[in-house]
């Protein structure tokens, strides 16, 4: 067959500089004596959507010999693309989906970073696509895959991803173009030349080194090491208690103990361990054959999170720490020594104010419409400047209320709820292991602040109501897991209501409507902390 054009596709997101990259490639190709054509479909996709640029290159000398110009297509054809450049991992997936990457033909150059799509990031829990699965597919579909985090490379070199993609393309050696022409083009553009060249060079070498070994696996942040000596000797007995638990659960319990310690004091960590040991005993008594300690694992995790609920005191404490200031400095990329201020956005509701009061007073406030109305005057949205003295001292003192936390209304309520939750687990029968495990995991629903917290608690309460019903079913655990997912499916609770009414209909055909209309067990007052 006669010489055919080289075909290259750029799969990018609007605003990522795919057009710049295409322009550069045209320039390089023309400098190399190629006839170049590029097309794109900018339109609305330019506004953050997925978009494609398509280029073809053909040697000018061959066209001159033939006395005719080559006819170049205006769009990539599945199975007929030599090289695909994807500026993001999911876009690499989309290019594969469109058939543009084929094992017999295509070199795929893709950045492994993720720019999450709106559906992924707006999920009420984890909504991100499985990066591991995507990476596997990317590797299996491409003839050759050049994968690394190009966004990180760009940032490290204070450059943009288009320079990195160009460098990776050069390094991959798929185009018959010389490196000097790549570099010349960057120089000619005249914009941020030094940093763009550095990013280009970095990426070029990286691509030449071969596979980065990227897998997309998410590493757990939980350290698996359990020390033998407590850092402060007085806590040695606490550590010993942890070390007496099954080895598999020690890391998570250690983390939980550290968290409760950080949240309150050693006595509070003791309470945490008391509760963990209760569940350990329960698991050993009823479900001794469950060798994975799934219940203990889940409870230890959930319990630690629940016992360190985010009240006003906790938030103020975290916001004023030195480590937090350092983290902000890093995140906003302040230069060393550069001054910066931090402004918090808080909007406490009457419930938060009452929740921070001693339990009796707090209850009285919430019970009195007049006091509530008066307090509502103090609930306007407020901006607190944490790096000024007044702002800092206010938050610092609020954080210092920690020593009286055990007396607050919020603490009383959360404590009662935790106990009720544990009691529910303890009340389950020997054949309800999976229900217990899911019940332990269900704490995941109770999170956030304000209305978010209330919604979570409402959903959690709804699930609690179903526990007896589920305990009577052989598939109770599976169903409960499904209900947890349903609770996280939408804010309005539509999916959860549907699942539950289907459940009611299935097990009690006669009272389906009644069950679905069952009022959620709402607490007398919920005391989430908000701003």
């Amino acid at each position: 067959m006669a010489e055919r054009p080289i075909k290259l596709t750029i799969a990018a997101l609007g605003g990522q500089g795919g057009g710049v990259l295409a322009d550069w490639l045209i320039e390089i190709a023309e400098a190399e004596g190629y006839i170049a054509q590029s097309t794109s479909v900018p339109g609305v996709a330019q506004r953050t959507g997925a978009t494609i640029y398509y280029l073809e290159f053909f040697p000018r000398t061959l066209a001159e010999q033939a006395g005719r110009a080559p006819v170049m297509a205006l769009m990539p054809v599945p199975g007929d693309v030599d090289c695909v450049i994807a500026s993001e991992l999911a876009e690499a997936g989309r290019a594969i989906q469109r058939g543009l990457v084929t094992p017999d033909r295509t070199t795929l150059i893709a950045s492994t970073h993720r720019t999450y799509a709106i559906a992924e990031k707006s999920a009420m829990g984890r909504g991100a696509a499985d990066a591991e699965g995507l990476t596997d597919l990317v590797r299996s579909q491409a003839k050759r895959a050049v994968l690394f985090d190009m966004e990180e490379t760009a940032e490290r070199n204070h450059s943009v991803i288009s320079s990195v993609l160009l460098g990776a393309l050069c390094g991959a050696g798929v185009l018959p173009f010389r490196k000097t022409n790549f570099q010349e083009t960057i120089k000619k553009s005249g914009i941020a030349v030094a940093t763009n060249l550095a990013a280009f060079e970095d990426a070029c070498q990286r691509a030449q080194r071969g596979d980065s070994g990227f897998t997309g696996k998410v590493k757990s942040a939980l350290s698996q090491e359990v020390p033998t000596q407590a850092r402060t000797p007085v806590l040695q007995p606490l550590l010993e208690r942890i070390r007496r638990l099954p080895a598999a659960v020690q890391p998570v319990v250690l983390e939980g103990a550290r968290r409760t310690l950080d949240y309150q004091d050693p006595a509070y960590a003791d309470v945490y361990l008391d509760r963990v040991e209760r569940i350990a005993a329960l698991e050993a008594r009823l479900w001794a054959d469950a060798s994975s300690y799934a219940l203990l694992q889940a409870t230890a995790r959930s319990l630690a999170l629940w016992m360190t609920f985010e009240d006003t005191i906790r938030v103020a404490d975290l916001k004023t720490r030195g480590s937090r200031f350092a983290r902000v400095q890093d995140e906003i990329r302040a230069e060393p020594g550069q001054l910066f201020g931090i402004t918090e956005f808080v909007k406490p509701r009457v419930e938060e104010i009452a929740g921070t009061m001693p339990a009796g007073l707090g209850t009285w406030i919430l019970g009195s419409p007049r006091v509530r109305r008066w307090l509502a005057n103090f609930t306007a949205g407020r901006q607190i400047r944490t790096r000024t003295l007044s702002g800092f001292l206010m938050l610092y003192m609020l954080g210092g209320l920690k020593r009286w936390r055990r007396g607050t209304l919020r603490f009383h309520e959360e404590n009662a709820r935790i106990e009720a939750w544990l009691a529910r687990m303890e009340g389950l029968g020997a054949d309800n292991y999976l229900v217990a495990v899911e019940l332990a995991k269900a704490q995941r629903l109770v999170k956030g602040y304000g209305e978010t917290y209330e919604r979570g608690w409402r959903n959690f309460s709804t699930l609690l109501e179903q526990v007896d019903l589920l305990a009577a079913r052989s598939d109770g655990g599976t169903v409960l897991a499904r209900l947890i997912e349903a609770a996280l499916a939408d804010e309005e609770g539509v999916t959860l209501r549907r699942e539950i009414s289907a459940l009611g209909a299935a097990s009690h055909p006669a009272c389906a409507s009644e069950c679905s209309a069952q009022k959620a067990l709402m607490p007398v007052s919920s005391r989430p902390m908000v701003s």
Partner: protein, 721 residues
């Protein structure tokens, strides 16, 4: 100032005889206009021809040198009406817009223009927004050509062909006294290629010449009895003249193919615009080479209306079957061809959408399948040959991989940009609807159309540009819950002022219209509009929307800044509950962030360099207080507000995270307050070139705060596991 600047590229418009032009399709079209001696140009922006308007605006000085008048028309109707200059005078004029939406808007003027007929060449350059990347309902421009008897050119998507066709279009228009439409598909508008240029030509006759000696011809006016005479003239004179011109000038191309019985037994007729992709499909099928040498005879229709019957008869004679490659629906060419062959007693079988898709874009893949099926059926010998030449193609992606990908690859709908001022408004609407329950929202065309997509999911219908308020007319006086209409500033000036606001006043609507005033026609690339505030030496901006609204009689007009979410919410509540009866209008201000950043960023960089004190703001999320519910994202959807793995070893749900693209617009803080969300957001204020006071205050603060922080750190370390 538009989003994309062509200031550098427009210099290629000065290229002279025999020089080689390199660049985008749209720029080449402009060059061809200048080579044709065009006297006036107008149009309205819209993808895929937005850039044509941007190029013209950036080329203003070159146009002035040549004496070419350019206008950024108020609407497509305005642009079409502008062509009336060619009715009485030998003035060449060209206008451009997005089709079919723009052609819909223009069609009143266009139909009258087509009836009157033209003396000077009148060219309409249309961006045919069809297929991948299109942002409108899927229709064909072809129908307009047929109904008004205007001619439609659909050139090969290569710059030499496109530019030649622009020049020929003027000649065709003058030879047949008819306006000519030239359509360019999306990719052709943006194709980068090359062609040899000719010198620019100054128009031989100018608007000033016309004004000096006005000419009037009653037979050109569209009132009876002239209209009857014009219709007769269209059919008896102009149509035959056009057909003659197309045939004699060879606008369409007849390509022989190989002189073998089996290849000559069939043929392919195609729209010029589909030439490249069709030839690629044929190459993949083994019946063409890289240079477009086809073994099968081809008939390339660079003029798709009117058809030239004699050419059809010549091409089809002796052929068993002919495939018509015609994109979109209905299949007008296929129908017309069937009629021509039938009337000429040819038995050649017309094949079209029975093997090719009946609707949708003709991708190379679709063409490969369709042409393959045609060859299989009508030239079995060829089919065997081509199959031997090209190994059977299996699908590029296995069914198993495809299923996995479907689950793994997230949809990526378009959305509002980082820092978009429309975001806080729609977040406020979302919060409002939590209080009021769902509202009927009549949406409009513009960036705000994206509010119909996640995460906002609001808007019940879109009726067209500027028609948001008009779209709610039926609900205007019901007396129940009030309807809400959205309108952009672009749409407002395009027609919304009269079609929506004036109409609501006149018909005593009791509803709410929100005009989103971002200062530009932002969705199409930030072109200036009458209310744009930036200085523009060629246009008069700063025309007040509020004054215009009051001018048509609205009594209840309020203004808000979109970033003031609490204030906006208050106004929205008031508008929906006030006892005032009559149309209520809220003008929601907030400059398009893309434009703002382009303006502000260089100024800020300069100020920092010069040593001035500058504060740059951006937002962040504290990962240790974020619980991973993402309510904030559901209320905002800002591209810079995303998620990352939770650094907390006990938590599994990802935390919200503000990435470095944050422009510090402030919406995160507003949303956190207005929705009573969460205390995790913070705003950081980075100080450049701090003053002495800054330094002093910082020293004091750091000393006190630092010592307190160290104290609590020591306390925490008293107990460590």
């Amino acid at each position: 100032m538009a989003e994309r600047s062509f200031a550098k590229e427009v210099q290629t418009l000065r290229l002279g005889e025999g020089e080689e032009f390199h660049g985008e399709g749209i720029l080449a079209v402009t060059k061809a206009l200048l080579q044709s001696g065009v006297a006036y140009v107008g149009g309205y922006q819209g993808a895929p021809v937005s850039h044509l308007m941007d190029v013209l605006a950036d080329a203003q000085s070159i146009l002035e040198e040549l004496g070419v008048h350019f206008e950024a028309s108020a609407s497509e109707a305005t642009a079409a009406a502008m062509l009336s200059a060619s009715i009485n005078y030998p003035l060449r004029g060209a206008v451009t817009w997005k089709s079919t939406v723009g052609t819909n808007v223009a069609s009143d003027a266009l139909a009258n223009l087509a009836s009157s007929g033209v003396k000077g060449g009148a060219l309409i350059i249309l961006g045919e927004d069809y297929g991948e990347g299109a942002s409108i309902m899927q229709e064909r421009t072809h129908a307009f050509a047929m109904k008004s008897q205007m001619w439609l050119l659909d050139p090969r998507p290569q710059l030499p062909a496109i530019t030649r066709m622009v020049e020929k279009a003027f000649e065709l228009s003058e030879a047949s006294n008819t306006p000519v439409m030239l359509m360019l598909r999306i990719r052709a508008c943006h194709v980068y290629g090359r062609f040899f240029t000719r010198n620019n030509r100054k128009p031989s006759f100018s608007a000033a010449d016309a004004l000096a000696a006005p000419s009037r011809d009653y037979s050109r006016i569209i009132l009876p009895p002239s209209t009857y005479a014009q219709e007769k003239e269209k059919i008896e004179k102009r149509l035959p003249a056009a057909i003659r011109f197309i045939a004699e000038t060879g606008l369409n191309e007849l390509i022989d193919g190989e002189r073998r019985a089996e290849t000559q037994a069939i043929g392919i007729v195609l729209q010029g615009g589909l030439y490249n992709n069709t030839l690629r499909a044929m190459e993949l099928l083994g019946c063409a080479d890289t240079f477009g040498n086809s073994s099968i005879p081809l008939y390339v229709l660079n003029a798709t209306y009117p058809l030239v019957p004699a050419e059809w008869v010549q091409f089809c004679s002796g052929k068993r079957a002919v495939l018509i490659v015609e994109e979109g629906q209905p299949e007008f060419i296929e129908q017309a061809a069937t009629q021509i062959l039938h009337q000429h007693d040819l038995s050649t079988r017309i094949v079209g959408k029975e093997v090719l898709p009946r609707f949708g874009e003709y991708t190379v893949d679709a063409l490969r399948k369709g042409i393959g099926a045609f060859i299989d059926q009508w030239a079995a010998q060829l089919a065997a040959g081509s199959k031997a030449a090209v190994p059977a193609r299996k699908p590029a992606v296995s069914a198993e991989a495809a299923a996995k990908l479907a689950a793994l690859v997230p949809a990526r709908p378009s959305g509002l940009c980082t820092g978009c001022p429309e975001r806080p408004f729609f977040a406020a609407m979302k919060i409002l609807q939590k209080e009021t329950g769902p509202l009927h929202i009549s949406a409009d065309i513009g960036c705000h159309s994206f509010a119909t997509l996640p995460p906002f999911n609001m808007g019940n219908s879109i009726m067209g540009y500027g028609l948001g308020a008009a779209g709610a007319s039926a609900f205007g006086t019901d007396g129940g819950k009030r309807a809400v209409s959205i309108m952009g500033d672009g749409g407002f000036w395009h027609n919304g002022l009269t079609s929506g606001i004036g109409n609501a006043v006149f018909n005593k609507h009791d509803d709410l219209t929100v005009i989103i005033d971002n200062g530009y026609a932002a969705a199409t690339g930030g072109q200036d509009i009458p209310s744009s505030r930036a200085a523009n030496e060629h246009r008069q901006g700063n025309n007040s929307i509020v004054d215009a609204v009051k001018g048509v009689g609205v009594k209840w007009v309020r203004r808000t800044h979109t970033y003031d979410m609490q204030g906006t919410l208050k106004l929205l509540r008031e508008a929906l509950s006030t006892p005032f009866r009559g149309p209520k209008v809220i003008v929601a201000d907030g400059e398009c962030m893309l434009n703002r950043q382009r303006r502000v960023k260089p100024l800020m960089r300069k100020a920092i360099k010069e040593g001035q004190r500058v504060v740059r703001e951006r937002f962040g999320v504290d990962p240790d207080t974020c619980t991973g519910d993402h309510s904030c994202i559901r209320l905002s959807g800002c591209p810079s507000l995303t998620v990352k793995e939770n650094p907390d070893p006990l938590r599994t749900d990802p935390v919200a995270h503000v990435d470095n693209s944050c422009v510090g617009c402030g919406v995160c803080g507003e949303v956190a307050h207005a929705a009573v969300l969460c205390p995790s957001f913070y705003r950081a204020e980075l100080v450049y070139n701090p003053s002495r006071w800054d330094r002093f205050a910082n020293a004091v603060r750091s000393a006190v705060i630092g010592s307190l922080q160290r104290r609590s750190e020591r306390n925490r370390l008293r107990y460590a596991l």
